[in-house]
């Protein structure tokens, strides 16, 4: 997820696109690969993907904007995702989400001013019997309570 990303580089972008362009229905595969490398999908990459797959820019842009996962700019240094779906709601997830927002001073879906933490909702991590759950930079945490959440927030702020 986060971690060390490369700065956008056109040659490197072209390499990544070429690596996957031969697959059938490659658009999502390529967008995932670009985001993994650069931390987001740079706008300059969209026409390159379109060119490689013989699609229009509009088509690729349409795919890019349809899916919640793809970012148009880099996230904060750490990404904290809190599950906001029903099983976590039933286990006290609403209060935890409000607590995280208050601690970080941002609302769901935004990044702290110092670019350290992006707080995002996620709709189900499949950990519904050990709810509420969260994901910090790809690491899963279940059975969240105030104490565990505070520790996660503190870790993200470091």
């Amino acid at each position: 997820m986060t971690g060390i990303h490369e700065p956008w580089d056109e040659t490197r972008g072209a390499e990544i696109i070429a690596e996957h362009a031969g697959q059938e229905g490659a658009t999502l595969v390529i967008l995932h690969a670009l985001q993994e490398a650069f931390g987001y999908v740079p706008e300059a990459a969209i026409p390159m993907v379109a060119q490689a797959l013989n699609l229009s820019r509009a088509e690729v842009h349409g795919v890019f904007t349809f899916y919640h996962d793809f970012r148009h700019k880099p996230a904060g240094r750490h990404v904290l995702k809190l599950c906001r779906a029903e099983a976590c709601q039933a286990a006290g997830g609403d209060a935890l989400a409000a607590r995280a927002e208050a601690k970080l001073g941002v609302s769901m879906g935004s990044t702290t001013a110092d670019d350290r933490v992006t707080l995002e909702p996620i709709y189900c991590l499949g950990l519904c019997a050990t709810a509420p759950s969260a994901m910090l930079d790809g690491r899963l945490v279940g059975r969240l309570d105030d104490k565990r959440l505070d520790a996660l927030v503190a870790e993200a702020q470091r």
Binding site: E24, G25, A26, T27, L28, V29, L31, H32, L53, E59, G62, V63, F66, Y67, H68, D69, F70, C83, A85, E86, A87, C88, Q89, A90, A91, I122, Y123, C124, L125, G126, L127, C128, A129, T130, A131, S133, G138, L140, V141, G142, R143
Partner: protein, 518 residues
Amino acid sequence: MKMRIFVPRDAAAVAVGADDVAAALEQVAQKRGLPVEIIRTGSRGLCWLEPMVEVATLKGRVAYGPVSPEDVSSVFDSMAGNGQHPLRLGIADEIPWLKRQTRLTFARCGVIDPRSLDDYRAHGGYKGLERALSLGADAILTEVTSSGLRGRGGAGFPTGIKWKTVSQAKADRKFIVCNADEGDSGTFADRMIMEGDPFLVIEGMTIAAITVGATKGYIYIRSEYPHAVEAMNAAIAAAQRGGYLGTNIGGSTQSFDLEVRVGAGAYVCGEETSLLESLEGRRGIVRAKPPLPAHHGLFGKPTVINNVLSFAAAPFILAEGAKAYADFGMGRSRGTMPIQLAGNIRHGGLFETAFGVTLGELVDDIGGGTFTGRPVRAVQVGGPLGAYFPRALFDTPFDYEAFAARDGLIGHGGIVVFDDSVDMRKQARFAMEFCAIESCGKCTPCRIGSTRGVETIEKIISGERVSENLALVEDLCNTMKFGSLCALGGFTPYPVLSALKHFREDFVPAPARLQAAE
């Protein structure tokens, strides 16, 4: 002799510290100078006991749980000395919660090493495919059809008929697609089986492939499941090395290969036609049916698209025969259902049992009520598109038709329990909000209706012309139900209308309550 210790690598166990426990076990063993082999398994599904650690003994595997890293040293000494321990649960297979289940699909989950093809085969794996190869397509279709297996994704369409349609279609290429976009809150059976017994999914898809004559398959896994993606990729590579994928599978003349594709956070892609669009590299916009995917599916070719659990049921049916499966269940719901108990529940986890068990048994008896200790007020069955049932409906048997008769659905088998602190207005509002966030936008009732639904329920919450707005919500729900193209817009009314019907008091509060409301 080396001690053999089993620690789950299932995401739910890892989320509560299983990796730390495994590392601590290694350290303690080293300190004590005792040789151990730590095997990372899937989860047995007793989620409240995770991380649940097991040690092999002559009497069977003895379980301990929930084990925290601080417990490891004393648990290890108990394992090595066969002594007592407060966390000792006894022989794992004898734990009542596990013993009263009928595990046909999840028989190996939590038992074997999901990275090991040999382990899978040693526990009866690939027997279904072997028999399928000896039977031929027509006889396989007869078996699957007479087993009564219905689509476990939620729609409940007979699997045998779907496969037969694809087998009869003429085309230069056919596809097998596994829908592993398990987006429903309260469900995790697909994730568990992919992480805990991934070869089973591969075997089921391979059986489908040889039946219909498909040579290529895709498993579309949601991006929220990185552990499942890793497990499936590892298993596919192992199956390819072992001759179970690629050319001449299992020594036959058939060819079949598999590829994992990862979703990108769109709930609607769990809808089969939207999933196919996504696999083709497009926006996940729902397709109008007909044509059915069986005739005109992935890349326009005949395609079997089934849920993970449907494919995972096939190997048992082929290995043990249709009757062995169909003997379980009730009415037109044959076999077993891996039921997922979730939310505010004391004993949550994966409970596979024959259809027919009542909702009350599942929630009160098996689930043990809420973990907050407060009374159960509502349960949502079947994910975000499923109805909220009150205690008065707890006699409903787990069966496709019985739930439908009470304006509910079993969906993918998830049950989310809420205690008496739940505000059903909030839940109804969330159902509409979720639909608005996730709507693909193709049809108006879903795209616009969900947003209008949020607004109208908000008016009700703020006490604005409550009875008029309640009537409006009901009318809107009917429009969405009958006018939407797919289950997202079509089923969002279920949680909303059930909340209105069964929990009316939350929407039309007494005057005192009205003042207390926000």
